[in-house]
């Protein structure tokens, strides 16, 4: 089974998931951990390890908010074949994951598609309009 976990500073992840649920108009199957401001890392790491133990045997995509930030750093060393970490979480990436995770394609392909969806979701509107005017 393909699982998703969002780890962010503060409530960012929870709000992104709430926005995805608003758009899809259904409760979505993805978990979330908030790295609280007063946490020295140990609390989130403990919750994260508990999550991994609970989800052993699953493929997991971890979405973190920013490369180099604590939410990314605590899970860095857990990156392996069935645990992929995508940094810079955004709504297009989450929506791509939620609409692709149950498809009958390989985990590798899902990860690639989700990453592309997230990157393609970033556009400079002036460039977009420029392309349209050509």
């Amino acid at each position: 089974m393909n699982k998703g976990l969002v780890i962010t500073h503060g409530n960012l992840g929870r709000e992104l998931i709430a926005a995805a649920e608003g758009i899809l108009e259904e409760k979505v199957d993805i978990d979330c951990l908030s790295f609280e401001w007063e946490d020295d890392g140990s609390e989130t790491l403990s919750k994260f390890e508990h999550y991994l133990n609970k989800n052993q045997g699953n493929n997991i995509i971890i979405f973190t908010d920013m490369f180099g930030g604590s939410p990314t750093n605590i899970c860095f060393k857990f990156s392996m074949k069935n645990i992929e970490i995508i940094t810079g979480v955004n709504l297009p990436g989450l929506l791509k994951f939620l609409t692709y995770k149950d498809k009958d394609i390989s985990f590798k392909e899902i990860v690639k598609t989700v990453k592309k969806g997230a990157i393609d979701g970033i556009n400079l509107i002036s460039e977009y309009l420029g392309e349209k005017k050509k």
Partner: protein, 89 residues
């Protein structure tokens, strides 16, 4: 393969929630389903693909279905557009 061109009549056009409804419906059919708009042809089963069209109210869009349930797919998708994606305006 069959096609139908219709006008988008809901106020917000193909925004996120409408696109989610459309891709969800498209995924319930076996047929290939495409949207053709402004020179672009995208897979209607992809939520993010639909969003890239940035199609607004008043724009005309072509729905193309191809497969064993193409008639039913086209009929239900056209009905979703005409029903304003269940939105009030």
């Amino acid at each position: 393969m069959i096609r139908e061109t219709i006008e988008i009549i809901n106020k917000l056009g193909l925004h996120a929630r409408a696109s989610a409804k459309l891709s969800h419906l498209a995924n319930s059919f076996a047929s290939d389903i495409f949207l053709i708009y402004n020179g672009e042809r995208i897979d209607a089963k992809s939520l993010l693909g639909i969003l890239t069209l940035a199609a607004s109210v008043g724009n005309k869009i072509t729905i193309e279905t191809n497969g064993k349930d193409e008639k039913k797919a086209l009929k239900e998708i056209v009905a979703l557009f005409k029903g304003k994606f269940h939105e009030k305006s």
